[in-house]
């Protein structure tokens, strides 16, 4: 039997979508709240300080690991990717605002550059819930935070103000916990974190010379002894560190641009996904009560479904365009090292790795290793 091609194609899709003659299965009422989500943190005001806690601690916030995207949806992957950068910039901004720290930097990748590093993996994110697994660890290996944190928006978070953030409580909570941890350490313990950080960085470039200065006990690093202050190699290491910081500061501008220009679009996406979650919740309740018959199939009810669906898709695609814009403008980075211009290509993460590998090579060549 010969069929026209369109019908065969349509049949193929019909079968994929649970059969044409049947009413499509009612979709999941709401993104299932994974049982291991912790309770939402609630309202958390940010504790701010007029002066940083002494001695000043520099903090590195690593760009977050994006939320998983089922089914390889390219647009959603790009959205998740850019979202992970945006949310990291928000945490950085709150940490800076808390006034507790020295420099707070965004790191494209994990690094030994800062004595305290904060990283996070997005477990779930929409306009209703944000769930992150947060890890903060200092140079000695002391774990400050290692747990999943959950923030849930309330009606008061919407509509989102121009510079607002519906998940600000989450960043406040992280910032407050970090500051409390740092305050609880004795002055000697704080000094030790800074010293170990410097030695670790040096040991990563010149392991033969500096690894022996570090000891390890009960899974914690400590300074077994210290190099002479006049050690000439320390100067070179400081120069290399300065060059790495130059890169971080160069790309930082791009993250600031991202934060400034994408916030409104991201807020619109949050609102749309919240509306979708709310709609699905009320739809699920109506279906459970079987009282949706009167209105089902009316223009109002169909339009409500379609408008909610369309709003999320439109916002997702706006974010996708931003993600492309970010990718387009983030090329290439030209760095200068002792008069030489070096062009780096690829993603920011990859460029950061290239730059660090290059600095390590330069250092080894200079030292004749």
């Amino acid at each position: 039997m010969k069929h026209s091609l369109p019908l065969v194609l349509i049949m193929f899709l019909c079968l994929q979508l649970a059969g044409c003659g049947q009413q499509p299965t009612v979709p999941t009422v709401k993104q299932p709240a994974a049982p291991d989500w912790p309770p939402a943190i609630g309202k958390v005001p940010l504790v701010t300080r007029a002066e940083p806690i002494e001695p000043m601690l520099d903090v590195g916030v690593v760009i977050f690991t994006p939320a998983p995207v089922p089914g390889g949806d390219e647009a959603l992957s790009a959205v998740r990717d850019v979202e992970s950068k945006l949310l990291a910039t928000r945490l950085r901004r709150v940490l800076t605002r808390s006034g507790a720290w020295g420099a707070v930097r965004l790191l494209p990748d994990s690094s030994l550059l800062t004595p305290l590093e904060v990283s996070a993996t997005l477990l779930h994110s929409d306009g209703n819930d944000l769930v992150l697994r947060v890890r903060a660890v200092d140079a000695t290996g002391r774990i400050w935070i290692n747990e999943a944190l959950h923030d849930q928006t309330t009606e008061a978070d919407y509509p989102i103000a121009p510079d607002g953030d519906p998940f600000a409580d989450l960043w406040h909570d992280i910032a407050n916990r970090l500051a409390a941890q740092w305050s609880q350490l004795s002055h000697e313990e704080r000094r030790a974190v800074l010293t170990v950080a410097e030695l670790r960085y040096a040991a990563s470039l010149a392991p033969q010379q500096f690894a022996e200065y570090l000891g390890e006990r009960d899974g914690r690093r400590y300074a077994a002894r210290l190099p002479a202050e006049s050690d000439p190699m320390l100067k070179r290491i400081a120069a290399i560190r300065g060059s790495e910081l130059m890169f971080i500061d160069a790309v930082d501008e791009q993250y600031v641009d991202l934060q400034q220009s994408m916030s409104a679009t991201y807020a619109a996406w949050c609102s749309a996904t919240k509306a979708r979650a709310d709609w699905l919740e009320s739809y699920g309740e109506r279906v459970a009560r079987r009282d949706n018959d009167a209105d089902a199939g009316s223009f109002a009810s169909l339009q409500s479904v379609y408008s909610t669906y369309r709003a999320v898709k439109v916002q997702e695609q706006d974010l996708f365009d931003y993600a492309l814009g970010f990718r387009n403008e983030a090329v290439p980075t030209v760095m200068e090292y002792e008069g030489r211009a070096i062009e780096l290509k690829g993603s920011l993460e990859s460029r950061y790795r290239q730059w660090r590998a290059l600095l390590a090579d330069i250092f080894r060549l200079e030292q004749g290793f």
């Binding site: 039997m1 194609l9 349509i10 979508l17 009413q23 909610t308």
Partner: protein, 221 residues
């Protein structure tokens, strides 16, 4: 051009019949604008549906004992339900301009004032994506590209894009059905290629400046 065609009436291929080899998708890229003279209008379709509903009513009136008492909802074609679906179809098929971006990995049908239809070409079709709102699927074969989305309330939307052999005309057939109207409304719109730079400017998305338009000629490929 206007067809009332339910999925249930479509012929099913023999389950053990030979499988036709799929052809790679032809290049749909470009800017397209609607050709009103060759396209359906939704009001015309409503008339067709209402005429069908009237015929059903008359038939049932002639045989009341077999069909039971008259109600407004006859075979899923009450005037309210048909009008609701027609309004939906009008909303969904409103875009007059399309911009199609295609490379080896995906095809993206950007529609004016609506969201883009996106299909990943690197995956084995049909490409099915589950979202919190329902299921999306797409498939393709040579000159054809098909998108289908199933949403709550039984709302199912299907878009079939068919590229003419001369590749300068594109037919976008949209089929909309709901749990209350099993026979879908089908609207066919015809689009023709146009040159957006003939307007004297072209636009691109950038991060720092948003949408940037220029009057410069595009770079030569």
């Amino acid at each position: 051009m206007v067809l009332m065609l339910g999925c249930g009436t479509k012929p099913r291929p023999a389950p053990d019949g030979p499988v036709r080899e799929r052809q790679p998708l032809l290049d749909f890229s470009g800017s397209w604008e609607v050709d009103f003279s060759a396209s359906d209008s939704v009001p015309r379709q409503i008339s067709a549906n209402l005429r069908q509903w009237q015929r059903d009513m008359e038939r049932r009136a002639r045989t009341p004992s077999r069909s039971g008492p008259l109600t407004l909802n006859l075979g899923g074609r009450s005037p309210e339900a048909v009008l609701a679906l027609a309004d939906m179809a009008e909303l969904i098929t409103a875009p007059e301009l399309l911009q199609i971006l295609q490379d080896t990995s995906s095809v993206r049908v950007r529609r004016e004032n609506s969201f883009a239809l996106v299909c990943q070409l690197t995956r084995e079709p049909p490409v099915v994506t589950n979202t919190p709102f329902g299921r999306e699927a797409c498939t393709w074969d040579g000159r054809e590209l098909l998108f289908r989305v199933a949403l709550p309330e039984g709302l199912v939307i299907e878009h079939q894009l068919l590229l003419a052999e001369n590749r300068n005309t594109l037919a976008l057939t949209t089929e909309v059905s709901s749990s209350r109207v099993r026979e879908p409304l089908r609207v066919r719109k015809v689009y023709r290629r146009y040159d957006p730079t003939a307007q004297g400017f072209r636009c691109t998305e950038t991060l720092s400046k948003g949408r940037v338009c220029t009057t410069e000629a595009p770079p030569k490929p």
